[in-house]
Each structure stands twice: as C-alpha cells, then as structure tokens.
C-alpha cells in the first residue's frame, strides 16, 4: 500500500518485528471502528450517534462495541430521524462537542439535506468564524453489494457542490483510519463517505499515521495515462492498470481521497506528466464530481493533453436493481475501453 508522502507519521516506536507497534492488518470496517474508538478515547468532546449505532453496532458494524466500551454517553442510538440527527449535531457542535454521526445509506441522508446545506455548511461563515462546525457525517456510500433500491446511491456531488463542506472518501483501510481521525479532528464539517463495497477489504493500518485532508495519493505509478478516481473506483482503476501493464501500457492511478478541497497540484502534475487522463467514478456522470475533475484537468492541462480527458461513470439513471448492477457499475473493461480512445499513436506516429 502506498502511503502518501505528506501524511504525518507519529512515532509509536518499533515493535518486535521491526514494524511500528501501531501497525496491523485489518479490514476497512475495523479500521473505521478503531478510528472511532481512538477518537472517543483521546478527546472527551467526541460523541458518536445515529440509528442503530449502539447495541447493534451499526448496520455495517462500524460502531461495534463502542457503547459497551465507552458507555451510552459516548455512543448512542437516536430516534429515527435524520434531520434530527444532523440538526442536534449542529447544536452540539455549537456547544463544544465533536459529534460523529452515522446516516445509514446515501438515500437516508437526504432528509437531513436542509440541515447539511443551510447550517452544517454555512454556520462557520455565517458567524464569521465565531461558531465552527467540528462535526463528521459518516455515510456508507455506493454500490457493488447487490443492495436493493435506495441502498447503493453515490451522492458525493450534492455535498461537493456545497461550499463549506469537506468531502472525504477513502479507498484503503489506512486512509479510512487516518482520514477519519483527521476528519474528527478538523474544525470544519466533514462528509465522510465510506465505500460499502470496500468495508471488508483488508490492508495494513498504522494508527500512528495522521491523515491530511486535501491531499490526493498516487496509488500506482505510471507514465502513459493517468486514471483519477476515489473510493471503490480506485480498485477498479488498479485492476485496469494491472491488465494494461500486461499489454505494455503504463498506467498511473491517482486516488483523490479528498473531493473538496481538491488537490489540484497532485492531479495536475500527474496528468501533465502523462498527457492522457480518464476520470472514473460510480455516480451518475451529469454535473458530477467526475465532471468537475474532468473540466479541471482539461483547463489546467490543456496544452499537455494528447487526447480529450474521458470519464467513465455510472449512467444518468437511478442506480440499477441488484441483478442489473453488473451492467451499471464501471468496471476495469470499461476503463480500458476509455483508455483505448485516447488517440494513441502507433510506432509511425499515426493514430492507432
């Protein structure tokens, strides 16, 4: 696993096998659970709440054991009302707490949309910084788990378009841990999108690494074309890169990690170095984060581009029913098809 240069490792001392004591292999779900526990432990202002986060430990078990370990005071169930969850989190943040709330699925975050857009995002600006909103809204996001309607949407565009919100979407257990810790520590409100499909993926996690919001990660080096993705699509891109490599094409993969603020520096430098780019994301493409990345890359790399920047996204349709999911979701083949359109020249310099 590549760890971005600019994440800060806090020295936890080496363990017997030479690895830092804080390193262990775990699932993304476990990494998130660990991040919540560590945050609760290290800051008395942190409280975790939402629907079913207590005794049940969350429908995805991300809050498993927190109530048992830290008590109802620090992790508790609320009435079933998402605007209520986010609205009370706003009030708690006004009064010195750092609420971390869970909304069960993208579609079930929507009842809280007014609170998020009109207050979570704006309170700091409204009060000239006198009242900051150090709160985190965790939302399991995306498809790939065969879920029925309303359980597989990708709604990052709604949040990324809203000024004042930080939007984070990790793709590795390490980033899940480090960025959730960073999100909870942030004085600004963070929409923390957890790709459901990756909950059970595993990787090494060094809990001494503190994530830095706003920095993309080079997930794979490459020289011919740059793939830009986040969340579950990073794995799709890595798979495509692997196949492409076997066909002699060197594919670079950027994991955006933080959607807003966006890391233009890393992305622009990457695309300038290869001259070709494809943006990959699950969400419908129209007016999406993928469109934003595409247009940014176009504008900033125009002189360096050998071909139009392409994007591979979900269709502009409601998310597919379970049995249609494989047709809907971008996969490595679709990414490779897009790469193939990027005006490749043959050995004579003619377009292939």
């Amino acid at each position: 696993m590549t760890i971005a240069h600019d994440d800060v490792r806090q020295d936890a001392g080496p363990s017997d096998d030479g690895r830092p004591a804080a390193v262990a292999t775990m699932t993304m779900a476990a990494a998130l659970n660990r991040a919540l526990a560590d945050a609760i432990e290290s800051d008395p202002a942190v409280v975790v709440f939402g629907e079913d986060v207590g005794a049940l430990g969350g429908v995805f078990r991300i809050t498993d054991g927190l109530t048992e370990r830290f008590g109802e005071d620090r992790c508790f169930d609320t009435p079933l009302a998402e605007s209520g969850i986010v609205g009370t989190a706003v009030g708690m943040a006004m009064n010195g707490m750092r609420p971390v709330v869970e909304l069960q699925f993208d579609a079930f975050a929507l009842p809280a949309f007014e609170q998020i857009v009109s207050h979570v995002a704006k309170m700091g600006n409204r009060t000239r910084g006198a009242v900051r909103m150090p709160l985190v809204i965790r939302i399991p996001t995306g498809g790939g788990i065969g879920g029925v309607e309303h359980h597989c949407d990708s709604s990052e565009a709604y949040y990324a378009h809203t000024p004042g919100l930080t939007v984070v979407c990790p793709s590795t257990p390490q980033d899940a841990y480090s960025l959730l810790r960073a999100a909870i520590a942030s004085p600004d409100p963070v929409i923390f999108l957890e790709p459901k499909k990756l909950y059970w993926s595993t990787g090494e996690v060094d809990t001494s690494i503190v994530g830095r919001i706003g920095s993309a990660r080079i997930a794979r080096a490459g020289t011919d074309v740059t793939l830009i993705a986040y969340g579950s699509s990073v794995a799709t891109c890595l798979e495509a890169a692997e196949i492409a490599a076997s066909e002699g094409r060197s594919v670079q993969v950027i994991d955006v990690r933080t959607l807003t603020p966006f890391d233009d520096a890393t992305v622009t430098a990457a695309v300038r170095s290869t001259g070709r780019a494809v943006v990959v994301a699950e969400a419908p493409g129209f007016a999406s984060v993928a469109s934003e990345i595409q247009s940014r890359v176009f504008e900033r790399c125009f002189e360096h581009l050998e071909a139009p920047v392409r994007k591979v996204t979900g269709f502009d349709t409601p998310f597919a029913p379970p049995k249609f999911e494989h047709w809907y979701l971008p996969d490595a083949d679709r990414v490779l098809d897009a790469i193939d359109t990027l005006h490749w020249l043959d050995e004579h310099g003619d377009e292939a």
């Binding site: 629907e51 079913d52 207590g54 005794a55 049940l56 430990g57 429908v59 169930d77 609320t78 009435p79 079933l80 009302a81 998402e82 605007s83 209520g84 579609a107 079930f108 929507l110 009842p111 065969g146 879920g147 029925v148 309607e149 309303h150 359980h151 129209f286 269709f315 502009d316 349709t317 409601p318 597919a320 029913p321 379970p322 049995k323 249609f324 494989h326 047709w327 809907y328 083949d333 679709r334 098809d337």
Partner: protein, 385 residues
C-alpha cells in the same frame, strides 16, 4: 373578541368542533375483542366481526404465515436478496387488506409484502424488489397498491396526496397508509398527518408498533404515553388496538375506514404487535433483545389465538385446517417455482423508464453499453447472471 383572543381566531378542521378534544385521545388500554386464550373480550364500542369475516381472516393468516416462511427459505437458498418478514405481525397485514374496498388504496412499506399479496398482487410480483429483478414488480393501478416504500414515512405523504386527488374529483376512495413505530419519528410522519387533518382527507394511518426499529426499542422513539397520543396534536382521533388480535384490528381499522369514507376525516391507529424475527435476514437480533422477550410474544401468536377462538366456536375443524394448509402450500409452491426461474433481464431496461421519452444522453449511454456487450460477445438481451 374574548373568544378570538383565547382560541385560535380561525375555525379549525371540522372534526373537533364543539366536541371535547379529549375524545381524540386513545383509551388507556388497546382495543381487544379476543383475548390471548382465544376467549371473547367484549367491547361496547366495537362489535365482534362476523364469523364469515373471521374465517376469511383466518385463511389470510394461514397463507400469510406460509408466505413469510417460504420467503425466509428463499433467502437462505439465495433466491431472494433480502426479506423483511412480518412473522408475528400477520394479523395487522391481513386486517389492513381486508378492511379496504376494491376501490380503496393501500400504501405499504418494505415489511408489508403480505398485505400487498392479500390485496391481490401475486406473491412472485410482490417479491421482484426483494429478488432484485427490478425496484417494484407490479402495476400499482391494477390492484390499487402503491409500490412498497423503503425511505421511511415518505409514503404517508403520497397516501395523503392520493386521497386529496380522489376528494378533489369527488370519489369516495379511502387510503390506508402503513408505517412502523420507528417511522413515527420522521418529519414526514408529522407532515403527512397534519396535511391529512388540515384538508380533512380520508386517510387511515396505520402504525404497526412492533417495539423495534431495527435494533432501537420504542423507548428511544418516543416518551409519549403511546404513539396514538400523537393524533390529538393534529386534531384527529388516535386509537390503540391489540395488534395480534385480528378481530380487534378488523373492528378498529374498519371503523376508521367507514368514518373516513363518510367524510369524517383521517385517523391514527396504533397496533401493538411484535416482530418475531430479525429485522431482515441481514440482521442479528440477539445483539439487542433478550430471547425471553421474544419467547413471551410467541405465546401471543395471532394465528394460534384466532385458531383457538374459531375452533372453540365451532367455526373451524381439522378438515378445515387441512384445507387451508393445502391452499397455503399451493401458494408457497407457486412462489418457490416462480423464484427458482431466472427472469429474462434486458439491460436496455436500465434506460427505458427513466423518462417517458429517452433523452439523447440516455440513448448515447445505452448505445455505449450495447456496443460494450456486443464486443464482449454477451447477448444483448442479457439473460440470467
């Protein structure tokens, strides 16, 4: 003047006029017509439903239980993606379907598949959502059943608007809208009851209080004396009923439906029942409730109670039982067979229904998918996967 000062200046909905607002409050005890031992529990306000209706209800309960069991089995066999069972709540499901006339409409949730089926939708069509072949498997207009809704409490507003349109045209449609105890905490619950009351619409709000919203117990949803106590805050009557007593449910829901049809406006009915199984197969209810609690409710099973009652009254015998069981088995077999067959899925369906006319963008996207599938040598028609 004094009057204007002390009370809202404007006439309120027709209902509480003159009458004592306290009549809108539910009784201290839920209505019950058959006790847990199957004996008659007479009630001045609510007559016992006819023997015929009780027999129809019993058939419904037997079929309902069998459908719940079959669906659970289909989940285990991987033929259904998920199933939110109404095991234990079958009396509510069947009563909801039976109290409505043919022209009336039902607005169900994900948990109400049995009520949907009892209204005439074929079990296989009702399961399309849970099988994953599409988001909904029936034409709502055919059986007057709205699509089963997942975003909690949102369907209550659809029910209200539906009733408003019917009233606008002078039709006497009654709408029965279902939700769970947890859903009463959502803002849409509040807005739906309020709109229905302000516009005095024929909507019966039917809350199946099964004590849990996934893992969250009722005590985390409300500090009110009961959920039915919310009704007075909208100016409609609130009623509580034993949700495992199908006779009481038929009486209380039936009265609310009649009242709504007669122009009496909406009502809120809370049924006290229990979800005997986990929230869905994906849930682990041992994490949040004691087995003893579940066991105690098993002893109040709605089927057993009605069976005892009917048998005692001589309305049911072993032969009748046998016949009902066979009928239910036929339904289960048909469901099993339907779900064991793979549907012929067409990827173009992804683009067909988004808009009534396909946009150039959607057409372009379909063509890209079609070309992709052709390149991959997949039959465009799809087929089982």
């Amino acid at each position: 003047m004094q009057h204007t000062m002390l009370q809202p200046a404007h006439p309120h909905g027709p209902d509480p006029h003159g009458a004592d607002p306290r009549d809108l409050l539910p009784r201290d005890e839920p209505v019950r017509l058959i006790d847990e031992a199957g004996a008659v529990h007479a009630d001045e306000g609510y007559p016992m439903p006819s023997a015929d209706l009780l027999r129809r209800a019993y058939r419904g309960l037997v079929e309902a239980r069998r459908i719940n069991d079959q669906a659970n089995a289909l989940v285990r066999q991987g033929r259904l993606a998920v199933y939110p069972s109404s095991h234990g709540q079958e009396a509510c499901q069947i009563a909801a379907a039976l109290v409505l006339g043919a022209g009336d409409w039902l607005f169900p949730t994900y948990r109400d598949s049995v009520a949907v089926i009892a209204r005439g939708v074929s079990p296989a069509d009702a399961m399309v959502l849970l099988k994953g072949d599409w988001h909904s498997g029936y034409d709502p207009h055919e059986h007057h059943v709205a699509p089963q809704t997942t975003p909690l409490a949102t369907q209550l507003l659809h029910a209200v608007g539906f009733a408003q349109a019917a009233k606008h045209r002078g039709e006497d449609t009654v709408v029965l809208a279902m939700c769970g105890d947890g859903s009463t905490s959502e803002g849409d619950f509040h807005e739906a009851l309020n709109f229905a009351a302000v516009f005095h619409l024929p909507v019966v709000f039917f809350v199946q209080n099964n004590e849990y919203a996934i893992s969250v117990p009722l005590s985390r949803q409300t500090a009110a004396p009961s959920l039915a106590h919310k009704a007075i805050g909208y100016g409609m009557p609130g009623r509580r009923v034993d949700g495992n007593d199908v006779a009481a449910l038929l009486a209380v829901l039936g009265e609310a439906v009649d009242r709504a049809r007669a122009g009496g406006g909406p009502a809120l009915i809370e049924a006290h029942t229990y979800r005997m199984q986990a929230h869905t197969n994906a849930d682990d209810d041992t994490r949040y409730r004691e087995r003893a609690e579940v066991q105690a409710w098993a002893e109040r099973d709605p089927l057993t109670r009605l069976r005892t009652h009917l048998t005692a009254r001589g309305l049911l015998d072993a032969a009748g039982e046998q016949e009902l069981a066979e009928g239910a088995e036929t339904i289960a077999t048909a469901l099993r067979e339907a779900l064991n067959a793979d549907a012929d899925l067409d990827p173009e369906d992804l683009f067909r229904f988004v808009r009534s006319t396909r946009s150039p963008q959607l057409q372009e996207q379909w063509h890209r998918l079609r070309d992709e599938l052709e390149r991959a040598g997949t039959a465009v028609e799809g087929g089982p996967r």
